[in-house]
Symmetry: C2
């Protein structure tokens, strides 16, 4: 899982976001600040509605539409990444100050295991070069059975 992140990194992310907004003539509002903070304090993958629920529990009343709009901005500016685990909602994770990683997803129990993306990045560069493609990012997931479920099903 994405690990909880130091206050220092959170402040840096805020600066990145503020600058990103300023560059486009957009405003750093109280809502955007609160949403970024909620995102950075999450150490799990989350969905938009989940983040909203979390914020409401802590009496941070922001509208649903604002959360969706702000997440989109955070993705654009690279602080947040979209992950597609299921066919339903989009999942998000903050990646700012984290090592790049990808996920293994257990088909049986849904468990998520992260792994370092270093080798994947190397491979993607080689593959892209062959097609004269300029790789900027990737999405990678390994689907299968985690150790527990494998043992359970062969037992």
């Amino acid at each position: 899982m994405a690990r909880p992140v130091s206050e220092e990194i959170i402040r840096t992310a805020e600066n990145v976001f503020r600058e990103f907004l300023r560059d486009r003539g957009l405003k750093y509002t109280g809502e955007r600040e609160k949403i970024l903070s909620a995102v950075m304090h999450t150490d799990e993958h989350f969905e938009a509605e989940e983040l909203l629920r979390l914020m409401w529990q802590e009496s941070n009343r922001v509208g649903k539409a604002t959360v969706y709009r702000t997440l989109k901005l955070l993705v654009e500016c690279g602080i947040v990444k979209e992950v597609h685990f299921s066919n339903k909602q989009v999942h998000y994770e903050h990646t700012y100050g984290q090592d790049p990683h990808d996920h293994m997803v257990c088909r049986r129990c849904g468990r998520i295991i992260e792994f370092d993306a270093g080798e994947v990045v190397k491979l993607r560069t080689v593959i892209a070069a062959h097609a004269r493609f300029h790789a900027l990012s990737h999405r990678f997931q390994i689907l299968g059975l985690c150790e527990v479920c494998r043992k359970a099903s062969s037992g």
Copy 2:
């Protein structure tokens, strides 16, 4: 792109599907046959609604719900694969009789470039072994700029 596939392969796929259905006490109906045929004759990635439109154009009147239900079965039986390009609809491709491949997606123009998945499969096995995870499949996409768009944006 998935290449158009020989009539022989199509017949084999039909057999696979029929057997899959029989094994579960399900029926090989005219609708399912028509949908499988439409899928196998597609050589592009498609969406459920697109397939439906295509079939209607050729006066193959099947209900939308039936298409969704049948695609789900085809995925289960391994003839069709889900691909998640965007955050919106699921895309599908038939993979029966095709070499395993993954995709590069151009962020600017949306162009899809396929590449052989051999190296990815090797890498996923190594990575999975580290976590005692049993890899069964993967999803991989490289996002970036295709040659045309890279030239256009640097010019």
